[in-house]
Each structure stands twice: as C-alpha cells, then as structure tokens.
Amino acid sequence: MTSVLDRPAPAARPPARRGRGAVRLPGPWTYAALIAVLAGSAFPVYWSLVVSSQTPDKVDSVPPVLVPGGNLFANISRVFDQSDFALAMMNSLIVAGTITVSVVFFSTLAGFAFAKLKFRGRSALMLLVVATQAVPTELGVIPLYMMMSDFGWAGEIHAVIVPGLVTAFGVFFMRQYFERAVPDELLEAGRMDGCSSLRLYWNVVLPAARPAAAVLGLFTFMQAWNDFFWPLVVLTPENPTVQTALSTLASGYTTDYTLVLTAATIGTVPVLAVFLLFGRQIVGGIMQGALKG
C-alpha cells in the first residue's frame, strides 16, 4: 500500500498515461465500470429490502415495483408472529457467539504452542493441521448425524455448536500471526521472571493477539451465522437457526415472498452490521490471502 502512496506525483511522470498497465490513474470509465459492479453486488440485497417493504399483492405486479414501500414493519411483525423466527435468531446468536469465542480461544492457545513453544513432533503435528484444512468434513454428515442421535443431541443446538468449536484454519491463522508478531525475546524475559507458559499466554501472547484474533473472530462469526447444511440436517423445524428457518419459510405450499424476503433481510442484518463496522479489517484479512471461504 505504502509503495503506491509514496510514488511521486503524477505530474512528475511522462504524460502518456494510456497503456500504463497496472497502477494507472482511474478515468471516468473505470469509475463507471466499478459503479456498475457495485450496483450488481448490492442489487439483490436492495431488492430483498424492496420486496420486504411491500404488501403481498404488489410483489406480483407487472411492471414490478422497484422502490421500497411502507409495509416493512408490518411484514417484520408478521415474520415474528407466523414463525419461530425469534427463537431462530436467539439460537443463531448462541451458536455463532459460542463458536466464535471457542474458535478464537483454542486457536490462539494452539497457535501459541505451535509458533513459540518447542516440543517433539511439532512440525509433523503442524503439517497434520494444514492437511486437515483440506479435508471436506461435511461429507461425513451421515456418521456425524448417527453420533448426534446416539448422544441424544439431534434437534438440539449443541449438535451444531460442538463440531464447530475448533477449526484447522483458526490454528493455522494464529500460528502465522504469532510467528511474526510476538518477539521471542519478550517471552524469554517472561521466562526469566519465572512465568509459567500459561501465564505467558495470558499476560503476553493474548494481548498481542488482539488484532488478528479480532479478524478471526469476525470471520468465524459470519461463517457460523451463515452455515446452512449441517444445521439443516441435524435440527428440526421446531428448533431452527435463522438459515434453517428461512428454508422452512421458503418451502411453504404457496410462497409469500414478502414474508420470506423480510425474514431473509432480518437474518442478514447481524452480518451486515458486523461488516459495516469492521469491513476494513475483513477486507484486509482477505487481501493478505489469510482468510479462505
């Protein structure tokens, strides 16, 4: 980033800008193209808001209505009256919140051990973590479902929470961060003062982890909130998360789109809020190539 900013002012350069390749100055066409891309990106979300603020009969009108109407709050209360959406929101908050705290805690702990402590088999075990990232665990849904039935957890939200408590990606991500961000000298100084490794973790490593832990936490929260397949398999329509409640609403005999898209809009609000507040950090995390989908 700095290299782009530090370069001399455009006037100091040869005037020929055409064909200058990568970092040329944006012309009006660049902005026009980008605004078109942005409109395409935002349109479905906007459309969802438009439909959710209309009365049901307006949705089936030709030509379609393209601006929001005044029926949003009526539709919101219909969603909460006609479905278990309040329970779904509560369940999703508990699931995503617990998973986020747990992933951040266990990832920083294991990441610290892998980055800063010496033990036999360290590199082999780390290789195992990296390899497990590539394992598509969702193809194990059938035995996982059988296990949850045996535990008596089928239909309960712990069945969604427990398999999500750790991720290989989180461990890998925190290890990468600690290797660079926490100097060995600092930990050695702590050792000299007689700190146990757990105290070092708590007093030195965890405070230093804050920026990376925040990005990992934001990303984990969004993924857990948006997760669909496993909750669909293991939960019942009576005890849903937001995403499974959406699929139940959409699968009615006749679909009331104002109702369904109002629910979709409400269900998007928490991640949208997180994104608007911390979008810069999330974008930064992805641009470092560190966050994968």
């Binding site: 944006p26 980008l34 479905p44 459309w47 194990g140 296990m147 974008v283 992805i286």
Partner: protein, 306 residues
C-alpha cells in the same frame, strides 16, 4: 525443597504444556471431523436404512456397484455437478481478474469499492438463493420482466437443464467473485511498476500487458482460487435445494434437472434415510472432487510465465 518443586514444575511445563494447548484441537477434530469421514467408508459398505429399523448388514461394495452400474439418477447428478462446476468456476475467476484490474488503480473511495465487491460474500447462501429464486421467477420475476421488455421472451428458469444451471451458477458467481477479486488485487499491488514501464517502452498495449504480465504474475493466486472454488463448487447443495423449495426440494427440480451429487446424497440420506447408500455417494463424491481439483490445479499451473 521448595526450589526443587518449582524446578520440577518448570520442567513439566516446558515438556508437556504444549501438548495440553494443542490437544483440544486434535481431540475435537478427531471426534467430530475425521472419525465421521472415515466411518462413512464403513457405513457405505452396509445395507443400512433407518426405515428398516436400523438394521445394518455388511454387503461389501454392493452400494458402489449399484451406484456405478444401475443408477441413472447418480450419473445424472454427477453430470449436473460437473456442468455447474464448469459454469461457476471459470466465470468466477475471469470476472474476478477483471474486477481486480479495475480496483488496482489509485481510486478515490478505495475502501468503499472494496467493501462493495465483498458484500455478496457476507450474505448467507440461504438468503441469496431465496432472493435469486424470486428474481428468476417464471411469472413475476424481475429477470423475466426485463427479458420481456427487450422482446427476448420469458424463460421458465427452473424447467430446463441449461436455464436452471445458468440461474444457479449466477448465484454462486455473484456470491464469490468479489472474494477472489480481492485476493487477486492484493498480489497485483505487489507487481513492481517497472515491469510495466519496460513493457510499455517495448510497445505493449494495455491488453497485452494484462495477459503477458499481470496474469502470469498472479499464477499462484489463480491456482489457489481455482482449487478453493473447485472444492466448494463440487459440493453445491444449498443453491439447488432452495432454488426449488417445497416437498420435492431434494430431487433438484421436477426432472432432477439440477440435482447435484451433494443433493442426491442429501436425498438418499435424509429424505429416504438410506444411510449406507448415501455414504457410498459421499465417498464417490469425495473421490471425484479430489480428481477434479487435481485436474484444475494442473490446468491453472499451465499459465505461461515467460
């Protein structure tokens, strides 16, 4: 005495504490990640249907033989999976390259544009699919209205194989292009400008610079994106499931025209409760995914780096 105890505690801490710190990850992953995946292999060799009172009989490779030789629905689902993989992965990478190129300029409101292209990625697959299913509606969908406006006529998006695959691919491409664009953008910014300046002096056009310099320099990121996208797109389930919500959602359309392999797994496992058969599908899908991922890795690696 006291120092002796401290000394011992210190030695224990150095030697064993690291294992305690990494143990939670390995324990939880082993129980809830690895074990189910391996156990799928065992279940796939059983005749195990919940509706038959959970009786499990070992039948060897019968499920696989049945799937590979006598189940047209399986081959239909595999064909749909491959078609959707191609229709999603290729446009995703190409659009992402174009958008990254646009973003790689000294823009005003940089953060705004970057967040804008990432917006689709943060929305849930369930919400996205339901919204798109409405947009692609036959009678009152916005897309058909626009097509009609230009005299192109209405399309029953769900009814055909090509049209339904196009609609589903649109959802996936919409949701993931921005994510890949940001990954490409990061590496584009690391390409030294002197390379472009030299090329310009040699008379290379912007188009030539893009294909001869930018794309080859991005090779590692293109490989990464292709592999990630392939692994994800071979397992599409939510999009075809919710494109056609209702009682028969698991069949992926009236004629199974958009039933993917993952959706067929879901149908056999959780609509018909045939756990043995569904597990065999899971293993075959896993093998196919590894094969296709390997092939796309090789393809992406062939990008020229002069």
């Amino acid at each position: 005495m006291k120092t002796d105890w401290r000394e011992r505690r210190h030695r224990w801490d150095i030697r064993y504490a690291p294992y305690a710190y990494i143990a939670p990850y390995f324990l939880l992953f082993a129980v809830f990640g690895l074990f189910p995946l391996l156990y799928t292999g065992w279940v796939s060799m059983q005749d195990r249907n919940l509706l038959d009172g959970d009786a499990a009989t070992f039948i060897g490779v019968d499920n696989y033989v049945q799937l590979l030789t006598a189940d047209p629905y399986f081959w239909n689902a595999m064909g749909n999976t491959l078609s959707l993989w191609l229709l999603t992965t290729v446009p995703q990478i190409l659009f992402a390259l174009g958008i990254a190129q646009l973003l790689n300029r000294r823009l005003r409101g940089r953060t705004f544009f970057r967040m804008g292209v990432l917006l689709p990625n943060i929305t849930s697959v369930a919400a996205v699919t339901i919204i798109f299913a409405q947009l692609f509606g036959r009678d009152f969908g916005l897309i058909n209205w626009v097509l009609d406006l230009f005299g192109a006529g209405r399309i029953d998006w769900q009814a055909g194989t090509g049209s339904s695959h196009t609609a589903i691919a649109a959802m996936v491409v919409w949701r993931w292009t921005g994510y890949h664009a940001l990954i490409f953008l990061a590496s584009m910014q690391a390409i030294p400008t002197s390379v472009y300046e030299a090329a310009r002096l040699d008379g290379a056009s912007a188009w030539q610079q893009f294909w001869r310099i930018t794309v080859p320099m991005l090779r590692p990121q293109i490989i990464f994106s292709t592999v990630i996208a392939t692994a994800g797109n071979m397992r599409l389930l939510a999009e075809p499931l919710l494109f056609n919500p209702g009682a028969a959602a698991a069949t992926g359309g009236s004629d199974r025209q958009f039933q993917t392999a993952a959706l067929y797994l879901y149908e056999q496992g959780f609509a018909k409760f045939d756990f043995g058969y569904a597990s065999a599908i899971a293993w075959l899908l896993l093998i196919a995914t590894v094969a296709i991922t390997g092939l796309s890795y090789l393809a992406a690696r062939r990008i020229r780096t002069d």
